[in-house]
Amino acid sequence: MCCSSALTESQLQDKDSEPLYLEKIKGMRFFDPHVHMTSRTTDDYQAMADAGVAAIIEPAFWLGQPRTGVDTFRDYYSSLIGWERFRASQFGIRHYCTIGLNSKEANNEGLAEEVMEILPLFIYKEGVVGVGEIGFDDQTALEEKYYRAQLELAKEANLPVQIHTPHRDKKRGTRRSMDIALEHGLDPGMVIVDHNNEETVKEVLDRGFWAAFTIYPFTKMGNERMVAVVKQYGSKNIMVNSAADWGISDPLAVPKTAALMKDQGITDSDIRLVTYQNAITAFGQSGQINEAEFAADADIDQSQRFEGSSVLRGGQQPRIDKRSAIIR
């Protein structure tokens, strides 16, 4: 259907039906402890809220290309605790973040030094639930240097640590990350090791760390594999995230995985632990997560609160009917 006939209004409208998987998880709430919302649209926020995502954590990472000055780091960190949190609140989603110097950019030593100087200012901001995501990428000496420095920072501030494990030489990188964290005297219960797979999970759990899994097409975990992992290892100390960013990724990965788990006979209480509660328990050790805050948001009646108002107040935005061709 192209070019030969003009589109009609009904062809422009969205399909009315909800995706089937949403039915399966109706009434469930989710916490996505790793998602880079800075790279996502407001439509994603809306879809996440509709699927039951109540709160998220946005780890500080790189932006797809290296930064050249400390000021852009400062503005990025500021946006994570400011504008992005505000944007999320428009959709009734509570936004937390972790702050850190990522492993890729740790390789620019001059810049890394300057970033380390401003980090202490940001890790004490409200809603900062950890130091992250930090760790190894190419596993260079400089990556190690700044990983260690940031572990010390987290220890001093009594904050959880969110560890990014490398894509390449992953198993060794994961083990090394844990060895170093223990060497610095961190309690493994304060450390969330991210981007696990079938090869790394056992050791991470055996050593008492939190094991996070990223459901991300092609390069990380698929959710069918995730279901198998939960069947094998249970729900203790395991959490699921989307790590959705600027790449081909899915901000609905957590609710979709919950739906698949439900389909494949995993109990509601195990689903709740891996898609909600464990992340809150782990990152809640920062003292910065208040579940009551996101419960309250979910009950807001958007239309009553904001009808006729053009102002952004830090509450939810009125919803627009996307199926209508009329814009007011």
Binding site: R74, Y77, S78, I81, G82, R85, F86, I118, P120, L121, F122, Y124, K125, E126, G127, G287, G308, S309, S310, V311, L312, R313, G314
Partner: protein, 233 residues
């Protein structure tokens, strides 16, 4: 020394209020003050400002009208009614910044603004009337008016004596117009009557016509204010 009022007395009064509400909060603040007096290493000024909500109670400071009057006597128009305790503590902390060197002072305050989270921005903008060298923060106040965050806008525009005292006419007019645009309680803009001007009248009238053309309602206060602006001609 840069201050337009008795900031030592105000600082003491605020500290008393904080202590009355939470002795442990005040104790922590005093301990940070000590570090600052000893040279303020490791950016103790900036880090303390940021970390205040982690160590100071966050509930309503519980100021009665009478307490607020006490503040207003020391700094005309400063009435922090309904402020949470951590915001009051941040105002107090700002008063501890050494003000002998103007350039240093302004740089320190500006660097707080540059890295400020939402509630820090609220605290900073609502404390504008307390700062030393107040004329140095005119552009910053104008920047605050450009925000799209409701709480931040309110902190600059409402119950704040700074804008009518210091803003240039252009920025002042934007503040008033935007308050209508954002449907804020315009009555709480301090000094509104004193600073009506013909240009503001023109802007308000144009805005009212635009809303009417779009079939939207117009706040009746807007017409009243526009009429008073025209009377100034």
């Amino acid at each position: 020394m840069g201050y337009t009022y008795d900031q030592v007395k105000l600082s003491e009064t605020i500290a008393q209020q904080i202590g009355r509400r939470s002795a442990t909060s005040l104790q922590w603040l005093r301990q940070q003050q000590e570090k600052l007096l000893q040279g303020g290493k490791n950016n103790v000024f900036g880090v303390t400002f940021t970390a205040i909500p982690r160590f100071v109670d966050k509930g309503d400071a519980g100021l009665a009208e009478a307490d607020a009057d006490l503040f207003s006597e020391l700094r005309n128009g400063f009435t922090p009614l309904h402020w949470p305790l951590d915001r009051l503590a941040r105002a107090w902390w700002l008063l501890q910044l050494p003000a002998a060197d103007e350039a240093y002072y302004v740089m320190q305050v500006e660097s707080l603004f540059e890295a400020a989270a939402v509630q820090e921005q609220v605290a900073l903008y609502s404390a504008l009337p307390l700062l030393a060298y107040p004329e140095q923060f005119k552009l910053r106040a104008a920047e605050g008016i450009r925000t799209s965050l409701g709480d931040v806008f309110d902190a600059v525009a409402l119950d704040n004596p700074y804008p009518s005292e210091y803003l240039e006419e252009g920025a002042w007019n934007q503040l008033v117009l935007k308050a209508f645009f954002m449907e804020r309680p315009v009555k709480r803009i301090i000094g509104l009557e004193k600073r009506v001007n013909p240009e503001l009248g023109r802007m308000l009238t144009d805005y009212a016509r635009e809303r009417e053309a779009a079939g939207r309602t117009v706040d009746p206060q807007l017409h009243q204010l526009a009429a008073r602006c025209a009377g100034k001609q």
